[in-house]
Symmetry: C2
Subunit: 215 residues, 2 copies
DNA sequence: ATAAAAATTCAACAGAAGTTGAAAAAATGC
DNA sequence: GCATTTTTTCAACTTCTGTTGAATTTTTAT
């Protein structure tokens, strides 16, 4: 059989892609189940509800991400602690971008999903926090050692900007393609990786290193 | 009289707030018209369709924003051209943040709306481009003069990161409130303003000033 | 082989969705 | 005051929404 995925997995795969593209309310269960070639009722059986399906999507890859990122941070800190800002920022970022560049395309859908969630004013904050804040705190602590003069609030705001930049990247709106007249491509995640780390690191230093006065 | 707005304007006001909070597909016309105290059919009469209402919302404030930002840039460049990166970045940013801080709360809804649009993978890129790209190009040209060694692609990517950071701010997800243990507040746009400009400016310099080394 | 459990299908409901044509009301111009 | 246009209401119609109970098939374990 060419299609060896279970019906449950087919639902997950299609739902991930469609939710990422059109948002939670922008896709109906029937659109998902039709594309997956299964009955609508299976959603209730396997996931309880539409919201249950969405939550499962979000959760199932979050642990893997958190583990990989945590290990990447461990590796950096094992070599040197405090570590350079660039290396900490890179540990947080390259895990995601590598997955998008090299591995199966479903990861790209997942990060698109995260982009939707991260910018959702209703429940996005809570959902992101539940899945990722413990890990983020580890990174911020590492950054706080790398930038010993930093005020804590500044570190959180820097992370906020960082998160926004990364998120818009994963949203993959193709706006930059037209804006740049074809010079840049929204899907060129290698180009992003090369630039995001120094960009964000410089931002952290500017706000969190002594001598820079911002208030 | 407390309520002197026309029915058309009441629809616009409620729709702006609700779309910003829950997205285009997350709100029904009846929720909007009920809250506004008008008949559903008025949407078709005044705006043609739900999409027409949304487009009108987006468009009606875009021109004012573009004009103000353009004048802010003019003022900076009149004083000095090439202008310092910080001043150019600030001209782009403070127009929005000032409106959110001081003026009527509907602006905050509008920027929340922009956050929704900017991260929409389906039609967000096209919509943002149509409304804002000509102005963005002016800013990028000014930045290109401020950073004469910059490669063009780097400038566009820097703008992309910048846009993402600003956008997540306007999404106002309150994630940072919990993450920071109450140290930061998602709604504290003054705190953002104080930090965003140096953060983004440092990013631009890091990527676009080749000689500058930061280690 | 058979009984129990898991997975899947079927048909439907009850409500909500965007849209719409026609009638009524209000505002406008003369 | 009357005719015309603009605005608003009313009622409905399809289509689609998430959800669900019961029946059926498939798998698993014995």
């Amino acid at each position: 059989m060419g299609e060896s995925l279970s019906k449950k997995d087919r639902i997950l795969e299609v739902a991930e892609r469609q939710f990422a593209k059109r948002g939670f309310d922008g896709v109906s269960l029937r659109e998902i189940t039709n594309e997956a070639g299964v009955d609508v009722a299976l959603v209730k059986y396997h996931f309880g509800s539409k919201q249950g399906l969405f939550d499962e999507l979000l959760h199932r890859r979050a642990e893997a991400i958190n583990r990989e990122r945590s290990e990447a941070l461990d590796a950096v800190l094992a070599r040197q602690d405090p570590a350079p800002v660039e290396e900490i920022v890179d540990a947080f970022t390259h895990t995601l971008l590598n997955k998008v560049v090299s591995e199966d395309p479903s990861w790209r859908s997942y990060f698109g999903l995260l982009a939707q969630v991260n910018n959702n004013p209703e429940w996005g904050g809570k959902t992101m926090s539940k899945n990722f804040d413990p890990l983020v705190r580890r990174f911020i602590e590492a950054l706080s050692r790398a930038l010993p003069e930093a005020k804590e609030a500044d570190l959180y705001w820097c992370y906020h900007f960082w998160s926004g930049a990364l998120t818009l990247t994963f949203a993959d709106t193709r706006r930059i393609d037209g804006l740049s007249g074809g010079l840049c491509s929204s899907a060129d995640f290698e180009a992003v990786h090369k630039r995001l780390v120094p960009f964000i690191s410089a931002g952290f230093r500017a706000l969190c290193q002594p001598g820079e006065s911002h208030d």
